[in-house]
Amino acid sequence: MKPLLQCEHVTVQFGTHTVLSNLSFSVEAGDYLSVIGKNGSGKSTLIRCLLRLCPLTGGRIETAEDFSRKEIGYLPQQSGIQRDFPATVEEVVCSGCLGNHSFLPFYTKKDKLEAEKNMHRLGICQLRKRSYRTLSGGQQQRVLLARALCATQKLLLLDEPVTGLDPEASAEFYDIIRELNEQDHIAIIMVSHDMQKGLEDAKHVLYLDGDVQYFAEIGEFRQSDIARQIAQEGRQHIHLREVYYDRKFT
């Protein structure tokens, strides 16, 4: 059987600048792939390619027979959405169902049930009549995740999902994602620059950094030089932070 999603030798160039070169990886049903890398390493471009928002210069992206890339549930970065938009939680969640049918002017009963189910799943039922713009960052993220779940049964694509959330809210968010992956067997592709937290629940890792591309199982990745290097940088970071706080408070 073909994997859910398979990228073969994907290359993307903007003018003379190569953003992704000869990138290959695959995502199986029920998989959890963490895509990590620094800013400017091509993560966002990869997302746009997977969603068919950006043309490939070379290579191809294939999907399993019973899956189309329209059915990817996409959770965009918060910054892409206007925070002052007048819309109720219900309206936002329901709009995820629109990809399922092409011509009906109204939502069907099935759509409404699906929206209901996903609001329940994420514990935002009591917010349904609230305005999106009055919610906290964590609540907004749950609303957008519920919308993404309406659009998919199989694969969620998350773009920097915990940016702007406080530590508690982001821990909760990672828990939700793990549950969706383990209990509902929804495959996850999570793009993140957080090289520690972003890896905790992953089954596979794709590391992007300019010419370096590394796709491996999580166990293998943890043994690799790259992981060691990241860990070292992380420690340095923590060390620097401690120095900073020491200076500040003494």
Binding site: L51, R52, L53, K70, I72, Y74, P76, G80, I81, Q82, F85, P86, A87, T88, E91, V92, C94, S95, G96, L98, G99, S102, P105, F106, Y107, R130, S131, R133, T134, R147, A151
Partner: protein, 276 residues
């Protein structure tokens, strides 16, 4: 003022001037409010303004060449709308600059051409609108446009919401966002040209922007904002229009001022409700 009022209700005047003006004015108000919601929420507020300037240029050129003004203005403004809105939300800053470039250029060409041909008087009609001297064909065009816009919004309401709220997500789920942007651009272009004849070049964009801003103060749902914008827009137009007729004011300006009054009231109401 009383004389004006009495005159207002004389049957002939009512039939030939007031009624057509009311019908087409309400039709354009509804269109502008509906399209305005999508434009304002996507930060394209100045599109209406830019398009009306382009339309003004086209109308000037048309009257110098003695062509039917509408048949020139509508295609030209359509073309401009496609260029401006076709770029999508991704290139916001670029869009703003092109609007400025387009509108001033068209305006300048219009002024040059008409002043050279000595037509300033004729063309000033479009500056302030001529809602009290509409032709029958113009009234019909307004009503037909309104019916199309309303039908489009009712049938495609949820998709318009999705595209307005999050263009990339909509694209990813397979909604033909470009088609929707083009449709909104086309309808906006026609509405702007109609509105220009009614309200004048300088004031049409108030019809697009203000009702949405007012409704946003009061409503928290998208549906509420859409319905609220339409209702407030029509109220603003009717009040402003009758005030203009009764007190012999320029209709476009009077409608604008009344709309801003409504906006301020909405701000106040929103503030009071928020304080509760």
């Amino acid at each position: 003022m009383t004389e004006n009022l009495r005159e207002l209700f004389s049957p002939a005047l009512l039939h030939h001037i007031i009624l057509p003006a009311l019908i087409s004015g309400i039709a354009v108000s509804v269109c502008a409010a509906l399209l305005g919601v999508s434009l304002v929420l996507r930060r394209f507020s100045m599109i209406g303004d830019g398009l009306s300037h382009v339309g003004y240029g086209a109308l000037c050129v048309a009257s110098v060449l003695e062509l039917a003004p509408l048949y020139v203005a509508i295609p030209v403004v359509l073309g401009a709308a496609f260029l401006l809105l076709g770029q999508g939300a991704s290139s916001k800053l670029k869009g703003e600059n092109t609007v400025a470039l387009f509108s001033t250029t068209a305006m300048a060409v219009g002024i040059l051409v008409s002043s050279k041909a000595g037509l300033t008087n004729d063309v000033s009609h479009y500056m302030y609108g001529s809602i009290l001297s509409l032709r029958k064909s113009e009234v019909i065009l307004c009503v037909v446009t309104a019916l199309i816009v309303i039908a489009a919004f009712v049938l495609l309401y949820h998709r318009v919401f999705a595209v307005t709220f999050d263009e990339n997500f909509s694209k990813a789920t397979g909604i033909p966002v470009r088609v929707y942007n083009m449709a909104i651009a086309a309808l906006t272009a026609i509405t702007v040209v109609m509105g220009m004849m009614l309200m004048g070049v300088l004031l049409i964009s108030s019809l697009i922007v203000i009702p949405t801003l007012s409704a946003m103060r009061l409503c928290r749902s998208f549906r509420g904002v859409v319905v609220g914008a339409v209702v407030l827009s029509v109220i603003g137009f009717v009040l402003g229009f009758f005030a203009a007729v009764a007190m012999d004011l320029t209709p476009g300006a009077s409608v604008e001022v009344v709309s801003v009054g409504i906006f301020l009231l909405c701000c106040l109401a929103g503030r009071l409700r928020g304080a509760e």
